[in-house]
Symmetry: C2
Subunit: 180 residues, 2 copies
């Protein structure tokens, strides 16, 4: 994984793709699939929604750390299957043949087969709404993955793959932060 500028990490989340969140509870790595996510301004801060119904919840609350891992459509089937089983009785890295890589700042693992990984610390837990606010602290990019299209959940079991890219930078020139 190559280092990716943290200030641009939000460009992986703002499009609203399906993501995976990895945690480490002190004994076991786990992965959950999450498309309930949102960027928070032009910052490396992100909101995700999860609660006690996810096995990863306990580890997230306890360790206050995780990795947001952004897969390409090349592994969409694995990502969806990961969301359909539980870390309670499944070693998801093993079952889905994914490679955990050591992160730099957190104990949760990066996923080698993902396009990008963002190491995060929990900045706030809004219990009333099951929202976690995450501070991105480092971002990594796998430049060896040729399939770079992300994919998006409709929430009904169908997904759309990234299609054509359009450039409207000129229309937004006054709205974009420096260096993005």
């Amino acid at each position: 994984m190559k280092k990716f500028p943290l200030k641009k990490a939000f460009t992986f989340i703002e499009p609203g793709p399906v993501t995976m969140i990895t945690t480490f509870d002190g004994k076991k790595n786990n992965i959950m699939t999450i498309s309930w996510n949102m960027v928070m301004d032009f910052t490396p801060q992100f909101a995700i929604l999860t609660g006690p119904w996810n096995h990863s919840y306990k580890a997230l609350v306890k360790t206050k750390e995780c990795v947001i891992s952004i897969p390409s459509v090349a592994i969409s089937q694995k990502v969806i299957k990961i969301g359909a089983c539980s870390g309670k009785d499944t070693d998801k890295f093993k079952k889905f043949n994914l490679t955990p890589l050591k992160a730099k700042y957190v104990k949760a693992s990066l996923i080698k087969e993902s396009l990008a990984n963002i190491e995060c610390r929990v900045a706030d837990h809004i219990k009333k709404h099951n929202i976690f606010v995450l501070d991105g602290i480092a971002a990594w990019f796998n430049d060896k993955i040729k399939e770079k299209r992300m994919f998006h959940a409709a929430g009904d079991g169908t997904f759309t793959v990234d299609g054509r890219r359009i450039n409207h930078k000129k229309l937004m020139i006054n709205k974009l932060p420096d260096g993005v």
Copy 2:
């Protein structure tokens, strides 16, 4: 606009498209462009991030009402231009030749040229994080718009258009709520 099942309204937001938010401050309609949005579980509840830097913020705080309007890529240029100017000095419906339609429950307008519109009431305002939690109360669908592909902001001035749709319902059968 045809009525759209409220329980399925989240399927327009979960993919993470660029949306518009309309408000009515008692005198004027306004529109802002927002891609900082998130569904909250399989419910008609949504989170958006906005703050005092947007002219619409005041109306949203005051009226506790808005409409989330979901455009297709057919009007992407308008949507982005709407995000690049302010309701402070611009009548955006007029300037961008969009048609406000009367909503059923809120005073903010539906946008006729959008794929779908969701009438919302503010359920909570988490000031610390500039997050508004919105309860969807009615949803509408424009079945006359042929271009149904939504589009997603990367946050750097580029956008991706919905591409191929893939169906993974079988993989998720146990995770989907009834009737979705």
